[in-house]
Each structure stands twice: as structure tokens, then as C-alpha cells.
């Protein structure tokens, strides 16, 4: 029991670090984007100020319990995802609740938040919320296919469902990273990653030209603060997951930061250059090339790596 409580304590610390890191990296990325756009961009303190401001605001209206549970579900999804990902390899303190089947749990939790959002935003009664959620879920369904195929590919490759073991298998030099051992799966996953991060060309569900920034518009005060916190936490968590699965994990915080930032940059490099696809174009895209690559990666594992 005590050991379990200690684990919760450790996780809280991890949560804090990852959230703060998520906010910081978010500010950094904003500045990089600004640079491309010919601007100086926001100060690093801006995301922190935004969140603090929102948390200290009060609300005087109510849209019903479910509406407010939306952001709660969303952040629960984010926390849940992080809870089962080992953050620093070989460090018991930051290994969280990693266990043998954690990869499945993580993929489940990644969906969980979005579903919560759907329930909450749907409660607002605004058609744009519904449209935004529908688009978000459609696109998610689409990019989950290549992502799932890539995960299956490496599960077969490493013959395990434990993230810790997948990371462990990649230790001993960069040439052991999935990126190099199973580049086909990595390619499929990175394409799915573009959709997952919500940058162009796959940001239709946030498109301000149609559904002014989507469901977050409907929320305010601390609920918006929760959403913003989750955005940072969940974003960082996804990066850590990708780092663990495809880029050899990290043995220290510095390595983690460098690797995650570089992974993040992949989405930005593409994001600033392209307009967004329509939702049907986006779905069609994911179900074509990335899915084919995902299938190929399984074949590749079976035919090349395991033969």
C-alpha cells in the first residue's frame, strides 16, 4: 500500500514536470512558427499566464453537468495516457504505472479524452461544437489506422505489449532504434503523428474559418484552463510515447527534451508550409498512403525482420 502511494507521489511529480515541459515546448514552437511567419512571437511566459488567468476566472452560467465534465474527461484522458507510459527509461521513479500490457491501455486513453470532449461539447447545443467533434473523431479514426498498424508492427517486432520492454529493446546505440530497425512502421506512425498533433494540413477540426477554434470556444474560465493544461500535457505525452516507441526512449530528462522537441518539429515543418485538408480529403489521405505503409510495415516485420 505504502509502495503504491509512493508510486502515486512519483507520478504526480512526473505529471508536473511533463505539464510544465509541455507548456514550455508549446511556447517555443509558437515562437518558431512566428519566426517563419516573420514575427517575433509570444514570450515564454505567455502559456503560463494564459492558464493562470483562466484558472482564476469564475463562471456565472451553467450548461449542465455533462458540459463541464467534458474538460474533466479530457484531462483525465491526458493524465491516464501519461500514467501508463514510462517516461525515463531505467529510472524507477519516472516509470509511472508501466506494466506488461500498457501499450493497449495507452492507446485506449488517447481516445478517452476525445470522447469526453464529444459528450461535453455536444451538451453545449451549438452546431459548431458538434461539427468540430465530428470532424475531430473522423480524423482520429482515420489516423488511428496507420498508427495502430505501426504499433502492431513493432509489437510483432519486439514481441511485447510493454512499452518499457519496447524501449529496452532499443537500447545500445541509435542503430537499435525502431526508426532504423523498422523505418517502415516509423514512417506510417509519423504520418499518423501529423494528424494527431493537429497542425496543418490536418487541423480542420480546429479551423477558425469554420468553427471558431472548435469546442474550446464553448468553454471558459477554469474549464478552458483545464483544456489548455491538457493540451500541453497530452501533447508532451504523445511525444514521449512516440519517442519511446520509435526513437529509443530516453535515459534522462535532457535526452527526453531534445528527442521530443525534434519529433514535435516534424509536425511544425510540415504545418507551416501547407494549408489544411478538408476532413474528407484528410480521411482519404490517411486511409491511403499511411495505411498502405502501415500494412507494408507489418509485412516488412514478418518478411524481413523476423525471417
Amino acid at each position: 500500500m505504502l509502495e503504491w502511494l509512493g508510486k502515486v507521489g512519483d507520478f504526480s511529480l512526473t505529471l508536473l514536470i511533463v505539464t510544465l515541459y509541455g507548456l514550455l515546448v508549446g511556447a517555443y514552437i509558437e515562437r518558431v512558427i512566428a519566426k517563419v511567419q516573420g514575427r517575433i512571437g509570444i514570450p515564454y511566459s505567455q502559456p503560463f499566464i494564459n492558464i493562470l488567468k483562466n484558472f482564476f476566472k469564475r463562471t456565472a452560467v451553467s450548461h449542465g453537468v455533462m458540459f463541464y465534465l467534458g474538460p474533466v474527461f479530457r484531462i483525465a484522458g491526458g493524465i491516464g495516457t501519461l500514467a501508463f507510459i514510462p517516461v525515463i527509461y531505467g529510472n524507477e521513479m519516472f516509470s509511472n504505472f508501466s506494466m506488461s500490457g500498457d501499450l493497449f491501455l495507452v492507446i485506449y486513453f488517447m481516445f478517452f479524452g476525445q470522447l469526453g470532449m464529444a459528450l461535453g461539447a455536444g451538451e453545449s447545443g451549438h452546431p459548431y461544437s458538434a461539427i468540430g467533434i465530428a470532424r475531430g473523431l473522423s480524423q482520429m479514426t482515420a489516423y488511428e489506422v496507420p498508427f495502430a498498424l505501426a504499433v502492431i508492427s513493432i509489437v510483432i517486432q519486439y514481441d511485447t505489449l510493454s512499452i518499457t520492454e519496447i524501449v529496452a529493446a532499443q537500447q545500445g546505440g541509435w542503430q537499435n532504434w525502431t526508426l532504423f530497425t523498422n523505418w517502415v512502421a516509423t514512417l506510417a506512425a509519423m504520418l499518423a503523428f501529423l494528424g494527431m498533433t493537429g497542425y496543418s494540413p490536418f487541423d480542420i477540426f480546429l479551423a477558425p474559418q469554420e468553427i471558431p477554434i472548435g469546442p474550446p470556444t464553448e468553454f471558459h474560465s477554469a474549464y478552458l484552463g483545464l483544456l489548455q493544461t491538457n493540451r500541453a500535457l497530452f501533447g508532451a505525452t504523445k511525444l514521449i510515447l512516440f519517442m519511446n516507441l520509435f526513437f529509443g526512449g530516453a535515459t534522462g530528462w535532457v535526452e527526453l527534451m531534445i528527442k521530443t522537441l525534434l519529433i514535435y518539429m516534424v509536425a511544425i515543418v510540415v504545418g507551416v508550409a501547407f494549408p489544411r485538408f478538408r476532413v474528407d480529403q484528410g480521411i482519404r489521405f490517411f486511409l491511403k498512403i499511411p495505411t498502405v505503409i502501415g500494412i507494408l510495415s507489418i509485412i516488412y516485420v514478418q518478411m524481413v525482420l523476423l525471417s
Binding site: R39, I131, P201, R276, D280, Q281
Partner: protein, 389 residues
């Protein structure tokens, strides 16, 4: 959407099938009046079947400030400070046309220097407006890099306006009788430098926006205007030129110094959003070229204002006139009637946005995806304030 042959396009669209809203098949959606996907304060009442639009109706009136009526209660000199607000991103055309209408009726001859300065001012305005539009078109499809560039660069053009006219947006520079001042010292060098930068920027934009797989995927085939739609719908400007009709008032009925400038009417052959966008990019380059020509030819001394009566009690003789100019969106016209008093009897401002944002938009929107509404709207280049004078 295809047109049935043998019918005029306007008639064909006159009786759309009203969607049965009670069937539960459709969602009704109001895009606007406050909405980032609309170019200003107006509203689109959309009926959706899934993501597809089955009916679109434009609602205006959110921006109505009654300019035409205001002008009937203000003296001829006061009006010129009002009209610039009729098209916020392109105020100069209103100033020019209002002034020109007054001059036509009262028989005032504008001096040569003022003619050149006006021409330059109008072309600078076209450049600024096009830069803003390019950003709008790119942003409507979700590429935010280009808007940041063009809006920032537009500010350099606005710097030129600030130097030339004393204000960035509402220049109030072209006044009945001429212009309010000559060019400040060193303006020509600065203007040339900014033109050079603008050309470089346009090359860059062509590379990243027009040679862009996603931009093409979004804009090609969107909102096709066929040549037989042009006359029934009263489509003008780049929207008409993009489908192959070489109509440009600057060339066809030259005003100001345009008959002495060297340029050709640009017309395209792709009548979709991409074609229109590409045509406008070329026209932006054309404007830069024309500004350079104006800088070359504009006299640097001499009067810039005709002899004027005392404007405090200026009575313009009774008469009527229609004057027009080619703004970025096409023919912009002022119809003015005076009755010999100190006030104008009636002014009718005819901006191209009226047809483009209402009749044309309502038709082109049908059958498109909801995600394309913003891009389509921008590709027609409409300014709601000029719909509601």
C-alpha cells in the same frame, strides 16, 4: 454543378429547390455575422446535408451605416471624409470616385500633377488591397504563414500612405479639386525600395502558396464561374477576367493617367478559386509595375489642386453623372445627382461586392463543402461595407 443549356444562368438559379427542413435531413447553420470565415460583417444562412451545402442565403445589414443618406446631409467637402469608410480596405477608390463625380458635375479640371498622384494613390491602394487579399485567401484555407507575410508587408505600403497622405487607412487624400499635398521628400526612393521588396515577396508567395499541393487540392475546381454567368450576374473585375473575358475599365475606358501607362489587361482561363487567385497575383505584380511608371512620370512640381470655390458654402450645379473605376474587385461606380444646392441630392454607390457576395455567392456555394465556404467567399473578394452603403 452543371448548367442546363438553353437557359440563362440567372434564370436557372432563380428557382432553387427549397430544402425541406422538417425532414430532419438537414442542418441549418448561420455563418456570421461575426465569423472569421466571412470577410466582414455579413451572414450566410447555410443549409447542410452532411458537409454539403444545399442552400445558401446571404444576409446583409449588420454593417449598414447609411452612407448614401449621410452624404445628403453633408456639404460637398465634408462628404469626402465620409466616403472612405464605404470600403475599409480600399478607401481611396471611394475618395476618387466621389471627388471625380463632383468635379464632373461642377466642371472642375484637375491639374496634371494631381492626376498622376491620384493614379499612383489608386495603384498603391490596389497593391495594399491585393496583399491583404492574398493573405485572406491563404488563411481561409488554413495556411497562416502567407497571411502574416502579406499583412506585415501591407503595412509597409501603408507606411507609404502615411507619408503621402497623413493616415494609414482612411487617407482622405483625394479631395474634390485635386489632392491634398504633393509627395514628401524621399518618397520616390522609399516607394521603389518597397516595390522591390513586394516583388520578392510575391515570388516567394507564388512558390509556397500557388505551387502547393494542398492549396491546389482545396482551390482547384472550387466555385467555377463560367463566361455565360458573367453578364447575367453582373460579375466584374478579376472574377470576370479569370474566365477569359478581358474587361478592365483602366484599359477599356481609361481614366486619370491610365491611357498614358503601359500595361495590358490580364485575363485567365481557369475560372475556379485557384485561377482567380493566380490572376490576382499577376495583377498585384501589374500594380507594382504601374506604381513604378507613376513614379517615373508624375510631375514633381506645379499645382495639385484646381481653383476651388469656398467650400464652406459650395453649391454644385444641378446635374447627374455616373463615374467608375477599376478597383481590385472590378468596376466601382458612383452615381450622383445634384440639385444646385449645398448638398448632394442622391449618391448611389455601386460596389462589385454587391453581386459577388450575394447572387454569385449564393449560387456558387451550393454543392460545395462547408469547409470551402470561407475559401470561396474570399476568392470572390468581397467587402461587406460596400454592399451596405
Amino acid at each position: 454543378m452543371t448548367l442546363s443549356t438553353g437557359h440563362s444562368a440567372a434564370l436557372d438559379f432563380a428557382q432553387p429547390e427549397p430544402p425541406d427542413l422538417s425532414s430532419g435531413k438537414y442542418v441549418k447553420l448561420w455563418q456570421g455575422p461575426q465569423h472569421p470565415g466571412i470577410t466582414g460583417n455579413m451572414s450566410l444562412e447555410l443549409v447542410l446535408d452532411g458537409d454539403t451545402i444545399v442552400s445558401c442565403k446571404t444576409h446583409v445589414g449588420y454593417l449598414h451605416r447609411g452612407f448614401e443618406k449621410l452624404m445628403e446631409r453633408r456639404s460637398f467637402i465634408q462628404n469626402f471624409t465620409v466616403v472612405c469608410r464605404i470600403a475599409v480596405p480600399e478607401p481611396t477608390f471611394n475618395e476618387y470616385l466621389y471627388s471625380h463625380a463632383v468635379e464632373e458635375i461642377s466642371g472642375i479640371e484637375v491639374p496634371e500633377r494631381a492626376i498622376w498622384l491620384r493614379t499612383m494613390n489608386l495603384e498603391l491602394m490596389r497593391l495594399a488591397s491585393f496583399l491583404m487579399w492574398i493573405g485572406g485567401q491563404s488563411g481561409a484555407f488554413g495556411q497562416y504563414t502567407v497571411p502574416n507575410w502579406t499583412l506585415a508587408y501591407r503595412d509597409y505600403v501603408l507606411d507609404l500612405f502615411e507619408e503621402m497622405t497623413g493616415a494609414r487607412i482612411y487617407h482622405m487624400y483625394i479631395v474634390p479639386g485635386g489632392v491634398r499635398a504633393g509627395l514628401p521628400d524621399g518618397f520616390e526612393e522609399r516607394a521603389r525600395e518597397i516595390m522591390k521588396g513586394a516583388e520578392k515577396l510575391l515570388d516567394q508567395i507564388e512558390r509556397v502558396m500557388f505551387n502547393n499541393v494542398v492549396f491546389k487540392a482545396r482551390s482547384k475546381g472550387l466555385g467555377i464561374i463560367t463566361p455565360d454567368m458573367v453578364d447575367p450576374y453582373g460579375i466584374v473585375g478579376p472574377n470576370a477576367r479569370a474566365c477569359g473575358l478581358a474587361r478592365d475599365i483602366r484599359k477599356d475606358e481609361p481614366y486619370l493617367a491610365y491611357d498614358r501607362l503601359d500595361f495590358e489587361t490580364i485575363s485567365g482561363n481557369e475560372a475556379d478559386a485557384y485561377g482567380r487567385a493566380y490572376l490576382r497575383l499577376q495583377e498585384t505584380r501589374q500594380s507594382i509595375n504601374l506604381i513604378r511608371q507613376c513614379l517615373d512620370h508624375a510631375p514633381t512640381d506645379g499645382p495639385f489642386q484646381a481653383d476651388m470655390p469656398n467650400v464652406l458654402h459650395w453649391k454644385v450645379p444641378a446635374g447627374e453623372t455616373y463615374v467608375k473605376a477599376e478597383c481590385t474587385r472590378g468596376e466601382y461606380g458612383y452615381y450622383m445627382v445634384t440639385d444646385g444646392s449645398e448638398f448632394v441630392r442622391r449618391v448611389h454607390v455601386r460596389g462589385p461586392s454587391y453581386t459577388h457576395a450575394i447572387a454569385v455567392m449564393e449560387r456558387l456555394a451550393v454543392g460545395t463543402n462547408i469547409a470551402d465556404i470561407a475559401g470561396l467567399m474570399v476568392s470572390l473578394h468581397t467587402y461587406p461595407p460596400e454592399i451596405e452603403r
